[in-house]
Symmetry: C2
DNA sequence: TTTTTTTAGTGAATATGTTCACAGCACACA
DNA sequence: TGTGTGCTGTGAACATATTCACTAAAAAAA
């Protein structure tokens, strides 16, 4: 194992960092200047020890006996994410979901701007959705390089996804937020994050059947031990 | 620690089960009757050992030297999720995102049906969206109990969320898929699953800055050891 | 029938993640 | 200045998750 030159940040920690920042923004708006680990932890719904360790893993932060400085932490976390300044992203697919994403406020608030849209449907090409122009997907190679974008959002149909991802990679995309409910093969050099709404519901349904108590259950004909969903 | 009467299924395993089933459906449509762990694992993008352990934790499945029976596994996993028959869910909020969710095909394909909608906006109340009627949120207690629903999808505004969750709990909701980008306090008896699009982008941005190589980085002024994003 | 091949299931080893518990320090107040 | 309080940061303990590596068994081949 590599020696410990710096600290290690796991992707789980990164996920939690988003929540921390979200709540810190709320506290900032409410006029808080500093916050104790146990207060913030309670608001976010994690343990205080975990929160301290998460924050510590991103550098030294808090002041003993004074807590963590709210505004400074927001900046530090933004710097970690690279969202101090607005970052352009590309949207592929201007269907129902794509258009909903275009009007999703949090993207801008949290440092992301959908700058350009591509779609395969001629009836959409040329249109401007919420201020962003939609190009035909065949123009990807011509148009996209001008924007200096490395994150793509996929909200398109299920056809030719592998080819699409490869084309995106070639024009500089390095990671993809995929809303298309179809398994996409791993591509070297592309980090793929899948968002599967139906999968989330399956999880909720599973949890509901369990009755939420710690113990042993029969489920789908199989015995299951279940331990704590906080 | 409780004794091991049955097997233990972690929520991470449940998440992966969704992916397994998704790919199994594709294989089934393509005419496969059985599949080896290493084949399925490759398609899903996990290790073969992990896949075997996940499946084993849900009961005994595969046939030695013949692999796993595709169709039977789909059924078993559905039974585990409780989605053998269509399950009704409720949607709160018929805005852009809510309407996109109403036309999201995978819900029906995977066993979920948005049966009824609530909104606070009078201009939407009484309308029918994609076959589902929208009621005013104040009618929640009158209307919802008729539907025998225990899963809610939140795609509404950020106001009064705590109160809303409490009202949902009182009319039988036991778990919530929350798309509202605001932290909701934990409620006893409610399992809350947050979907945070902006948070996902923050994660992608973080990963992009890392350069994707295993090693040590300076990031936002802090040193980071980074290990494998498969 | 016997041998060979191949794969599922799983105990044990490893790796990763979370929590405990306490040292040491900043601050408040006398 | 001295004393008490209550916080952060972190080593160590614990808990959980993943991977390795082997056994046993089914199927195929001889």
């Amino acid at each position: 194992m590599a020696e410990k030159i710096g600290k290690k940040i796991s992707l789980q920690t990164v996920d939690r960092m988003s929540s921390y920042r979200k709540v810190l923004e709320e506290l900032h708006r409410a006029g808080w200047e500093s916050v104790y680990s146990h207060q913030l932890a309670k608001l976010v719904g994690v343990g205080a020890a975990q929160l301290r360790r998460d924050l510590a893993s991103c550098g030294t932060f808090g002041n003993i006996a004074k807590g963590y400085p709210v505004y400074k932490m927001i900046l530090t976390i933004s710097r970690l994410f690279g969202t101090e300044s607005l970052q352009n992203v590309v949207l592929v697919g201007a269907g129902n979901l794509g258009q909903a994403l275009l009007s999703y406020r949090s993207f801008e608030e949290r440092g992301f701007h959908i700058a350009v849209i591509f779609d395969i449907d001629d009836s959409k090409v040329g249109k401007v959705f919420a201020g962003r122009r939609c190009y035909h997907i065949k123009e990807l190679e011509t148009i996209l390089p001008d924007f200096n974008i490395n994150i793509a959002i996929l909200a398109c149909g299920t056809q030719n996804l592998t080819e699409l991802v490869e084309r995106l990679r070639k024009v500089g995309i390095r990671s993809i937020l995929n809303f298309v409910p179809k398994q996409i093969q791993a591509h070297r050099g592309i980090y793929l994050e899948n968002v599967d709404f139906a999968g989330k519901l399956e999880k909720l349904s599973f949890i509901n059947r369990l009755g939420r108590q710690i113990g042993t259950y029969f489920l789908g004909g199989c015995m299951v031990n279940f331990f704590a969903v906080h």
